[in-house]
Symmetry: C2
Subunit: 508 residues, 2 copies
């Protein structure tokens, strides 16, 4: 089907439609198939001395309906008027070669190596909607085979994905953090941003809202301050405070990623190499120079075992190196949630309890935050190796991080005097008690999220679950395991009904 | 996203629609995404002691339109009436595991080997429209990589594709022929069928209509006899005459092939392995035991060079052997058309001229037909090795093949006394003469087909081009190169106009 430059001839059929630019011609599906053309393709249209580029539309109407039959080309009034074309005039077309992007996908499928310009053409055409879902699937398919994409090609992919969207530029060298995720709670990010920005590091952090979880970082932090800022405002906040905590959706970073992800929903799996590429592309678009990856490993996390974790780590390091980004991949084993509150307001309270150093703060969240922040401080050269955690702990203890967070809250338009204990939780509450003595051996994250969802999270900020006991704790019959918060009796009843069928805690 | 057996809960929203079986529930897109569900998926629906299977529909309507919001499930009246369900009742669902076919596609993409039952599940789900275009693309993608599909897997694929459509059974052992194609003319098939059936071989031949060419075998033979026969009639014709020449579209052989091919139009290339598999699947569904493959090799043919030809041959032989099919792959170098007429009626005349042994018959077509028919006779054990061509030539010379063809024509409902010279050609004709002296060094098949199309072929049977000179012939200025046939002056003018821009003959 390589018809590059091949001449074809079709008879004009005038269509009394004015469509403006680009000029459009209509082909019957049979001819489109024959010439390997698809809607949106461009053709060179030749009529006597005239020569212009037109866009193909394809009609699938039966020949009985006298719109455009095989052998004919429907020509809109824009063209027939300009060129004085009559019905049955023979129009010559030059068939286009296949776009570079399609050729590159073919080459990849046949086992070839792609150059940067070939990969760029694919990513650009994905962003510009010039490749359809099926074509993208053919491309993505080659990413599953570990041997298929070389590391060089993955570097090219990352570069192309970053470069085809917004690229942010801050005045200082930027630090960033990403969690590969999969655990409920785990609100390390706001604490880390406060610590880093407090030490003078530029850390403009974009976060996502929940898709499958009970709350995303953006959902939780929105309880503390507005997160829906445009780029101009983000830059102003960062200039003033060195940090920010905003929703990433307002910034179009690496937009090819969304369309690629959509094709993968058809399959329900994401190749790891593709995940690393899209994370790195977004970080590069943010201008990151120091990057820490929080990678929980466990059966309910995205990364299931240490073998996978090591492969991912190695790929992250390779790509970061190619871009001159200093990276640290923090692998941690984890199964249960991190922190005690699950749901936007409950998670916001946990964050503030740590920053405000309350007695009742979740120590697991504080510990993880200082470890990760400490490593990032070391990467940035703000602490000697192994000493970062001490600076992070001190920043919390001396309320330095909290004062920085107050600046950020204020700059983003929130109330800087917010107190963890005054964050409103749902007033309809129900405590669930243990039915037996024993020890907690597991928390089922999926069921935990399911209950939070039934209570109304994440759209209802005040809904969620507070966990009184964690894995390893002893429990007595009648002691409270967790408390449910929501805004109506109906929601509580829904969750109660569900709890007859599923368990959150496994006690032995 | 492996949610197999995971319990989820949604609140009932009664929808006043009665839809009959299968029972349908409507989820909001956000929930569908969250749980990895797609329209058409099946869920187990639990309500008190009731338990039934329902099919998922997904709504993308904004939450503002109060149809089904996230967290809710729209339940049709069929279900609410039967189970007495009210709004806000909490319904429990068991998430399905992914279908075996989707898991198998994942496995293949990750480099695994598939069993017959996995491959069967994919092909069956393609036929039943349970896999969408994107999922099929992910599967097909793995066929491009030569290392990806083992020969064993290709055997499984062939078996599954044949077995998921009609399987024909004839009383005798069946011979068949397939042309990998790409050349205009080349009407070997009807001549071969007449020779083989004349020697007592059962050869029920299905052929296609033109997609990209000026005529398919079915288009050309239709000038001689009706070709649109249903399976019952085909069986009757074959029982009576040992052969037939019918359009394959009426018989649903290996229907997965059509859907797979459609995804490949997005890419414009077909992996060779896939081509072999779909040809073999169709032949097996026809019950073929002896098979000859006509494989022209040349720059305008489907197979471009000898290396490709050898690879294809080896794969054909492997798969045929696995099914106990005796196969011969006849590789021939060819660039120009075979025979002198291009277009349905002109090709039909060439076929009859050979069968009726007219003086003016195209000798290249006769020669190729006897070679291919001879090899097939040898495969069937009707001739010693190397002697098949002699039997084929004798069959033509003694009019044995023609008498058999008369039987077939009659059985299919045509006029058995048809004479090659009385086949009607278009009465509007124009002879095109050479503008210079020289030798013909090439014929451009693409341009030749383009001119035939402009003259009205294949839908206008009487339209086409008759070639007076072939590659290698000397030509003088003013001698006729070819004659165009059609039914109106307009068509001739269109072709003439096009001939100002493109050439069919290259003379040096």
């Amino acid at each position: 089907m390589n018809n590059n430059g091949h001449k074809i001839f079709l008879r004009a059929k005038k269509l009394d439609i004015q469509a403006g630019h680009p000029w459009v011609v209509v082909l019957h599906q049979k001819d489109a198939l024959r010439y390997g053309l698809r809607s949106g393709d461009e053709l060179i249209f030749k009529w006597h001395r005239h020569r212009t580029v037109v866009m193909v539309n394809v009609t699938a109407l039966t020949e009985a309906i006298d719109l455009v039959k095989p052998g004919f080309v429907g020509v809109f009034r824009d063209i027939t008027n300009t060129y004085k074309i009559q019905n049955n005039n023979l129009i010559e077309f030059l068939l286009p070669g296949q776009p570079i992007s399609v050729k590159a996908i073919q080459k990849k499928l046949l086992g070839g190596r792609l150059s940067y310009s070939e990969i760029y053409s694919i990513i650009k055409d994905i962003v510009d909607h010039r490749l359809d879902e099926v074509q993208i699937a053919f491309f993505v398919a080659s990413a599953f085979d570990k041997a298929s994409f070389s590391r060089e090609e993955m570097y090219f992919l990352t570069k192309a994905m970053a470069g085809t969207g917004e690229m942010l530029h801050f005045n200082n060298r930027v630090a960033d953090k990403h969690s590969v995720g999969g655990l409920p709670g785990n609100r390390v990010t706001p604490i880390l941003v406060a610590i880093l920005a407090g030490e003078g590091i530029c850390i403009p952090k974009t976060s996502s809202r929940a898709i499958t979880s009970a709350a995303g970082t953006a959902d939780s932090f929105e309880v503390i301050a507005p997160v829906q800022l445009d780029i101009k405002k983000i830059k102003r906040v960062v200039k003033k405070t060195n940090g920010c905590l905003v929703w990433g959706g307002a910034v179009k970073l690496a937009p090819a990623d969304d369309r690629i992800l959509k094709t993968m929903y058809h399959l329900g799996i994401e190749p790891f190499s593709k995940m690393v590429v899209s994370i790195m592309a977004k970080k590069l678009a943010m201008g990151a120079k120091y990057l820490i990856i929080d990678m929980p490993v466990g059966k309910t996390a995205k990364v299931k075992n240490m073998k996978e974790a090591r492969e991912l780590k190695s790929l992250f390091k390779y790509i970061a190196n190619r871009f001159g980004v200093k990276i640290y991949v923090a692998i941690s084993k984890a199964n249960g949630p991190i922190g005690r509150g699950i749901g936007p307001s409950l998670e916001a309270r946990d964050i503030l309890r740590v920053l405000q150093q309350k007695e009742n703060r979740p120590m697991d969240l504080e510990k993880k935050s200082t470890i990760v922040a400490g490593k990032l401080l070391e990467l940035c050269g703000k602490a000697p190796k192994g000493k970062g955690i001490l600076i992070a702990e001190q920043s919390l203890r001396l309320r330095k991080a909290w004062r920085k967070m107050q600046e950020i809250i204020k700059a983003q338009g929130g109330n800087q005097n917010i107190n963890s204990e005054r964050i409103q939780q749902g007033t309809v509450q129900l405590a669930i008690k243990s039915k037996k003595n024993g020890r907690i051996i597991d928390i089922d994250n999926k069921n935990l999220v399911e209950i939070c969802r039934l209570l109304g999270a994440p759209s209802e900020k005040k809904a969620g679950v507070y966990i009184h006991k964690v894995v390893g704790d002893k429990i007595k019959k009648g002691e409270i395991l967790f408390t449910m918060y929501t805004v109506s009796q109906l929601h509580i009843k829904l969750a109660e009904t569900a709890l007859k069928e599923i368990d959150i805690f496994k006690i032995k």
